[in-house]
């Protein structure tokens, strides 16, 4: 059929009908509304207090490009240092900028580069002392000061956890909702109605977005106002990232619901889909500290991009233009998830 104005208008009407229905259903499900709005706040408060201490020890990045075994051995032996082995000098620079490392040392044959976070002079001084002690023979040091933050751990983790929380709840609620559509037989009825599968998924996206906005705003407010995590960039940009992530979580939930027969089986997706994202996407520790061999896995997980984008916006005041690669990656997850969810619905019947 050729798309006509009437056809498009009809499609829009059906999408709105689904959206309104989803909103009405969720609104009536008090417990789920509570879960969506208050659980993230509760979790943030919990994480916030658990992580509000100053980072213990001095985070030192080490990039070993050969030579200088003596200095390396010495630095690894200093109790106060928490050493993170990194692949490149640029990784080290980035992590100092983000306030996740106090400094980094690049070891090369015949050359030592020392990068220091200029915002904490005392730590910089103690780092320099240790480098001098560790050198087997005096050599010129290439000293660079990098502007970083004096951050509490919550500042660094908060923006990423915001994404994690939204992803987690949206994914689960979406997977259960789509599972119900199938088990209660309404899906079969839709096939015999003018509602197309893409329209159905779009209707869900629209309906859920209302709750994702509420969830994102409340959680973000707790992160910023209660725990004082900086919001250097535009809150609207941060919200856009969270909404995009929420939309990706929704279509992924819809897709994965095809592999569950009961709500109990949906819960089993938590270790399968959620946990890898908790561990491998740089929410808690820098992605650069994850072994190279499993890093490709990180690149196919949406939270990797939302964590990066939210940190950039909230901590460094990045504009939407600067986080375009992340926006693009999240849009790609949304698109692939949307197509997969739609196709899976098709496959289900018959």
């Amino acid at each position: 059929m050729r798309p006509t104005f009437e056809g498009i208008e009809g499609g829009l009407g059906r999408i709105l009908a689904v959206a309104l229905r989803v909103i009405r259903q969720l609104k009536r499900d008090r417990r789920t509304v509570g879960l969506i709005t208050f659980a993230p706040i509760f979790l943030m408060v919990l994480f916030g207090y658990a992580l509000s201490g100053e980072m213990s020890g001095i985070g030192l990045g080490l990039v070993d490009e050969g030579g200088q075994e003596g200095l390396r051995g010495h630095l690894e032996g200093v109790d106060d240092f928490e050493i993170l082995h990194l692949g490149s000098a640029s990784d080290a620079e980035l992590l100092i900028e983000e306030g996740r490392l106090n400094g980094a040392i690049v070891l090369r044959p015949g050359q030592v580069v020392v990068m220091l976070d200029g915002s904490s002079p005392q730590i910089a001084a103690s780092l320099m002392d240790q480098v001098r002690i560790g050198l087997e023979r005096p050599m010129p040091l290439d000293l660079r000061y990098i502007h970083g933050y004096d951050l509490e751990m919550m500042d660094s983790v908060g923006p990423a956890v915001l994404g994690l929380v939204v992803f987690f709840f949206t994914f689960i609620v979406s997977a259960v909702s789509f599972l119900r559509e199938r088990t209660q037989g309404s899906l079969e009825k839709f096939v015999a109605s003018p509602l197309s599968r893409p329209e159905m998924v779009l209707g869900y996206l629209l309906g859920f977005s209302v709750f994702t906005v509420i969830q994102s705003v409340t959680t973000m407010a707790v992160v910023v106002f209660v725990f004082g995590v900086p919001m250097e960039g535009s809150p609207a940009t941060a919200l856009a990232v969270v909404l995009l992530l929420g939309a990706a979580a929704l279509v992924m939930g819809a897709f994965f619901s095809n592999f569950a027969k009961t709500e109990f089986q949906v819960v089993q997706f938590i270790p399968l889909v959620i946990l890898p994202q908790v561990v491998l996407t740089g929410v808690w520790w820098p992605i650069q500290s994850i072994p190279e061999s499993i890093r490709p896995v990180s690149s196919i997980l949406p939270l990797t991009y939302s964590s990066e984008a939210l940190r950039a916006v909230m901590l460094k005041g990045a504009s939407i233009g600067e986080i375009m690669p992340d926006i693009f990656a999240l849009s790609l997850f949304l698109l692939i998830g949307f197509v997969a969810a739609t196709l899976a619905l098709r496959r289900e019947v018959g």
């Binding site: 309104l20 009405r24 259903q25 037989g185 309404s186 003018p194």
Partner: protein, 313 residues
């Protein structure tokens, strides 16, 4: 499936569903085994048959829910591969509980109205009319999940009628509905067919099948017998009979047999089978009974007989 046109366009206006040689496998089970069936427009067509005979599969095939492995089918003049183009003219009531238990009756109906682009005053009028028809007007603000089985069924029916479909597919629609309301339903179905709509219904209730213009008897994925309820009874070898109490049963029996009637002696009573009621007068003239009773076969007997034998007699 071949591209051959199943029905000529001149006649397809009179046919709601035309199926020929439909084949569908579920794993190693052949659920439709060369099913051919014609459902004329503006009729109530009832599909009977034991569980697993393929009734529901056939209905699901009509709306494009399953892919057929063989045969061809036209629905409202469209090949079944293009059924989505006319899906808004079909109302399909599944055996599932396909409504949303966490929405009120009104909200459920509004949702279905939205899917069919019915809005504003027309939506309000339609919802009022249908809730009244299924006798749920007073419950419109209740949650669908709180309804009894029968009420739920009534709401399901109201929802699929919201868009005034030309073809109604009802898979066991009256399960759990009390007789008074069933009567209302059937009156409504009748008014729909009078308006040109077609109703295809599956049921286990013989009194409902009796109300249909055509009854199709399915077994093992085929249509075994088809016709009006009277014709089905005849197909099953069932004829109306007269039970007569006479003084000399032996002599009367001989007389009737000599005139070509089938007679069974049962003590002092005789059962005389009639090809048509027109012959009843002749029988009474010949036998002069003290007393008599007219015995009419039920569709249930016909159905049981067809199920037992597998083949109509």
């Amino acid at each position: 499936m071949s591209g051959e046109v199943l029905i000529h366009t001149e006649t397809s206006n009179d046919v709601a569903v035309a199926a020929r040689d439909l084949v569908k496998w579920f794993g190693r089970l052949k659920v439709l085994d060369g099913l051919s069936i014609i459902i004329p427009r503006g009729t109530t067509y009832c599909l009977l048959g034991p569980n697993g005979s393929g009734k529901t599969t056939f209905i699901r095939a009509i709306v494009g829910l399953i892919r057929l492995e063989g045969g061809e089918m036209e629905v409202l003049g469209r090949p079944v591969s293009r059924v989505r183009e006319i899906v808004s003219r079909i109302g399909y009531m599944t055996q599932h509980k396909a409504l949303y238990p966490d929405l009120t009756l009104q909200e459920n109906m509004e949702f279905y109205a939205g899917l069919y682009g019915i809005k504003g005053a027309r939506r309000r009028a339609r919802i009022d009319e249908l809730l009244d028809m299924v006798d749920l007007e007073d419950h419109r603000r209740r949650l669908a999940g709180d309804l009894s089985g029968g009420m739920y069924q009534r709401l399901s029916l109201a929802c699929i009628l919201i868009h005034d479909p030309d073809l109604l597919l009802l898979d066991e629609p009256t399960v759990g509905i009390d007789p008074r309301l069933r009567k209302t339903f059937w009156e409504y179905f009748k008014s729909l067919t009078e308006g040109g709509a077609t109703v295809l219904i599956t049921t286990h209730l013989m009194d409902e099948a009796e109300k249909c213009r055509i009854v199709g008897y399915m077994r093992a994925g085929r249509l075994e017998a088809e016709g009006s309820p009277e014709e089905i009874k005849r197909l099953a070898g069932l004829r109306p009979s007269l039970r007569l109490w006479v003084d000399d049963s032996r002599a009367t029996a001989d007389l009737l047999v000599s005139k070509g009637f089938d007679v069974i002696e049962d003590g002092d009573a005789l059962d005389v089978f009639l090809d048509s009621f027109a012959k009843a007068g002749t029988v009474l003239d010949l036998a002069q009974p003290r007393d008599l009773k007219l015995v009419e076969p039920t569709l249930e007997e016909a159905f049981l007989r067809l199920s037992d034998d597998g083949r109509p007699r």
